[in-house]
Symmetry: C2
């Protein structure tokens, strides 16, 4: 199958497929006489593997490692697989916590402006300006 069909079947754009090939995530397929890429079933599966991992937010470097475990002797322990997933879980978890703090801060800031008024009187702008001068701010300095 050509790149366009692989793209349609996986929902991944042709350019992204070529990008994955350049990055060494997808093996280079055979070419037709005119230079077109010709993919087979195994490429479809490999790409599906990559996209599935991507949908879990895994970075490409980790996916490369995960895919590499297929070439390893099957009797090896799987602890490095777990480590990758655990790392990803903790990355995601700390991102969530950081974003939740951020949301709280933004909501506190937003609460400074509740009625329609002018720029001169806007509690949001005022808070930001005061904080820039070194004053305590509603968003960060909540005792």
């Amino acid at each position: 199958m050509q790149i366009g069909e692989l793209a349609k079947r996986t929902g991944c754009e042709s350019e992204t497929i070529r990008y994955y090939e350049r990055e060494g995530l997808l093996p280079a397929p055979a070419r037709s006489s005119s230079g077109y890429r010709r993919y087979e079933q195994r490429h479809l599966e490999q790409l599906a593997f990559i996209l599935h991992c991507r949908s879990l937010g895994m970075p490409l470097a980790d996916i490369r490692l995960l895919a590499g475990f297929h070439q390893q002797p099957a009797a090896e322990p799987c602890d490095r697989v777990n480590a990758l997933i655990d790392q990803q879980i903790s990355r995601v978890h700390s991102q969530i916590e950081a974003l939740q703090r951020l949301e709280q801060q933004l909501l506190l800031l937003r609460a400074r402006c509740d009625s329609p008024h002018t720029l001169a009187d806007c509690g949001i702008l005022k808070t930001l300006d005061d904080a820039a001068s070194g004053d305590a701010c509603a968003c960060h300095d909540t005792p």
Copy 2:
């Protein structure tokens, strides 16, 4: 003050300060005879404003707009300020929701491997491989 002192006072690296100047967020300061940047109090405050907004996750483009409101007539309504903050809140909120879904999926996947064993028997790898072949997976297809 020189760039290094501004950097130390704000906790922002010199290169980042120069970057903000290039990006038009920080006005270009006067230069000494040898070409060194010489900052004044207003630069300190402007940079603090930028860093405060950055700490709320605001993109530079929005910070540029927010800073621009100081040049606007003070009698204008503040609704565009609010709109920027509201946009940021909803961005952050949807990021949180997406990451929480991700975390659930990762935990489900992680649960497939609970005891030490080999790559051949690893429930994580098996789940990923099966999903690549089109099977339902623990992480995404939870009915």
